[in-house]
Symmetry: C2
Subunit: 349 residues, 2 copies
C-alpha cells in the first residue's frame, strides 16, 4: 500500500484530496460493464431507476465495513477491502435464497487515502460484482475526518414463495453448514501476527489458504439460489457473526432449540492446527469465525434435495446437529452437553 | 445534548458501548409502525424482502451524513441529524418524480454516543418517515472509532414513462426553482456564530425560520410526484450542492447552456438580510446553499401544467432563467452577463 509521507512532497502519492468528486466517480464508472437493459437510469442522476424483475420479490440488504473495526489497512490490501465489502452483502442475499442483481456504494473517504488505494478498493469490488453479474447502479462519495467507511447496499430478487428466512426451522430438522469454518478467524490472526512479529507463521500454502479465506471469502450465492429453488431448506442464515451466533439466531427466530455435535464441525484442518499451536480453543475460535458460509435447517425428508443442491453448487455440506423442541442451545462433546459459545458482538456486550 | 463526563461516574449517561446491537435495533423497531403488507420480510432477517409495485420502476438512492463534514453535533440537535439524513434521500427521490416507499439505515456509531442521542436521531428520522409513509425495512449498526456516520438508502417507485431525469432539458426551456434559496446556508452560519460568540444574531422569529430551514428541511416529495405525473417538466434535479451546481449539472447533462436572471432568484429575504449584515455576497452564498428545493426545466407550452402542480403541491415556483443552445452558463445582472458561481464540492476542488 502506498503511504503518505509528510514533508517529502516529491514522494507524496496522489490522494483523495487532490481529486474532485466527479473524477472519483469517473474512476468507478470506468470499471463498470455496459448498463444492462433493466437499469433505466444508472450513475449520474439524482437516483438510479430499475425495472423490477417480473414475478419476483426484491431482497435488500446493507452492510458497512469500517476501518479499525472490520479491517485494518496495515494488513488488508485495499482490493480485499472492496471484495469483502460486497461479499458480506452477497452472503446476506444468498442466505435469503436471492439472486443478486445490483449494488449501491457509499464511501466515506479520508482525504489522505491514496487514489491508488481507492482504485484498488473499487477494483476488488467490481471484480467480484462482475463474477456474479451484480451491477453498480449508483452511490455516494463523501469525505471524512475519521476511518474509511465502505457501505454497500445490495439488491437481489427471489420468487416470493421461495424466500429463505431464518424463522421456519422445526424441531427434528437437521442443521447443515456449508464449506469449512475457522479459516477466517485463523487467517486474520495470522495476518496480525505477521504484522506484529517476524515470526514464521507456518508453511506458505497453509498460510495462503487461511489468509485467503479471510481476505477474499467466496459468498455462497449459487448454493443459496439452488436451496431456494428446490425448497430443500426450512430455514437459512449466514455466518456473519460466527456459527455459534448463527445457530442461536436461527433457533431463537424459529422458536426451537438446537444440539450441535462438536465432533462433526467442519473446522478447516489448517485452522485447527493454527489455533492449537497457539494454545487456543479451536472449537470456540471456529464458532466465532466470520466465515461466509451458510447454516441451513433441513427436514429429514428433503435430504435428497439438499444433496442435489450440494452437487450443483459444488460446495461441501456437513450435518452438524439437530433442532430440538426444548429451547436450549447446547453442544455435545464426548457425550456431555455444554452451552454453546456465543458469537461476535459489534458492541459492548 | 447529553455529554460524557469522564470521572463523574454517577453523571455519565448511558452510551452506545453499554448496549448490545440487538438492544439498539429494538430501540429502532419500537418506533416503527406495523409492517405494511408489501414488506414480506422486515427487520430481523439477513435481508428485507419487498413486493415490487405493479407497473412501476424502482428508484434507488443512497446518501451519507458524516459528523464534521455534513453536521456538527455541537449545534445540530440529534433529532435534526436524523431528519436531515432521510430528507436528503427523499429530496433525491423527489427530483426523479418518485414516490418514496422504504429506507434502509446504516449507522456507524462512536461508543461514547449517548443512547439518548441515538434515540433522538432515530426519532427525527422515523418521524419524517411516517410523514411520507416511508417504511424502515432494515439496516446495519456498527461501531466506529471516528465520527458518527448516518447512511440512508431510500427506495421509491415511479411509472417508467414518468421518470424525471436531469438530461432532457432543451434550448428554450424555462428554468424554475421551488421555494426559496439561501435559508440553509444562512441558518448554518447563524448556528455557527451563536456557538462561537454570544453575539445577537437578530430577532427570534427570523433566526428560527432560517435555522429551521437548515435543521429540518422539507423535501419536495409531493411536488416531485405531481411534476412526474402531469409531465410538466422536461428535466429536474435537486439542490444538494446548491442552485449554481444544479444549473450546471442539469445543463451539462442535457447538452444545453443556461442564462439565469439574478434579479429573479427567490433568495429568502431573511437570508439576504443576514448575508448583507455580514458583508457577504447574498447571491453567491444563496447559489451555494444546500436548500432541499428542486430545479425544474419546463417547455414554455407546458407552463399551464406547471401551474397546476404548483397549486396542488402548495409550493411557490419561481422562473429564474432559460436554457440556451450555446453551452455557456451565465448569470445576468443589471444587463451584464457573468459566469455562474460554482456550487459546493465535497472534495478538494
Amino acid at each position: 500500500m502506498t503511504r503518505h509521507v509528510p514533508g517529502t512532497r516529491h514522494e507524496r502519492p496522489t490522494t483523495i484530496s487532490d481529486l474532485a468528486e466527479r473524477e472519483l466517480i469517473d474512476r468507478i464508472q470506468q470499471r463498470l460493464p455496459p448498463k444492462p437493459s433493466w437499469l433505466l437510469v444508472g450513475i449520474g442522476d439524482d437516483a438510479a431507476v430499475v425495472e423490477p424483475e417480473r414475478n419476483r420479490a426484491d431482497v435488500l440488504t446493507v452492510d458497512a465495513l469500517v476501518e479499525g473495526v472490520h479491517f485494518d489497512r496495515a494488513f488488508v490490501p485495499p482490493e480485499a477491502i472492496g471484495h469483502r465489502a460486497l461479499a458480506v452483502n452477497l452472503s446476506d442475499l444468498a442466505a435469503m435464497g436471492a439472486a443478486p442483481r445490483l449494488a449501491l456504494l457509499s464511501f466515506a473517504l479520508p482525504p489522505t487515502l491514496p487514489v491508488a488505494d481507492f482504485d484498488a478498493i473499487v477494483c476488488g469490488l467490481t471484480t467480484l460484482a462482475a463474477k456474479y453479474r451484480v451491477h453498480v447502479a449508483g452511490g455516494n462519495l463523501t469525505r471524512t475526518s475519521g476511518p474509511l467507511v465502505i457501505d454497500v447496499t445490495a439488491i437481489g430478487t427471489v420468487k416470493r414463495r421461495q424466500v429463505l428466512t431464518r424463522d421456519r426451522a422445526r424441531a427434528g430438522d437437521e442443521l447443515y453448514v456449508s464449506g469449512t469454518i475457522g479459516g477466517a478467524a485463523a487467517g486474520l490472526q495470522m495476518l496480525r501476527t505477521t504484522l506484529a512479529t517476524t515470526e514464521d507463521t507456518g508453511d506458505t500454502a497453509t498460510v495462503s489458504s487461511l489468509v485467503e479465506s479471510y481476505l477474499r471469502p467466496e459468498p455462497r450465492v449459487r448454493l443459496g439460489t439452488l436451496l431456494s429453488r428446490n425448497r430443500a431448506a426450512t430455514a437459512c442464515i449466514d455466518l456473519s457473526d460466527g456459527l455459534g451466533d448463527a445457530v442461536r439466531q436461527l433457533a431463537d427466530a424459529s422458536g426451537v432449540g438446537a444440539t450441535i455435535d462438536a465432533a462433526a464441525l467442519p473446522i478447516a484442518p489448517a485452522a485447527r492446527a493454527w489455533f492449537e499451536s497457539r494454545g487456543a480453543d479451536a472449537l470456540a475460535e471456529s464458532m466465532a469465525s466470520d466465515d461466509y458460509e451458510l447454516l441451513i435447517a433441513v427436514h429429514p425428508r428433503t435430504r435428497g434435495r439438499l444433496a442435489t443442491a450440494r452437487r450443483h453448487a459444488g460446495v461441501p455440506l456437513t450435518r452438524i446437529g439437530v433442532c430440538t423442541p426444548e429451547r436450549a442451545i447446547s453442544i455435545r462433546s464426548n457425550g456431555a452437553d455444554s452451552a454453546l459459545p456465543a458469537g461476535y458482538s459489534h458492541f459492548g456486550r
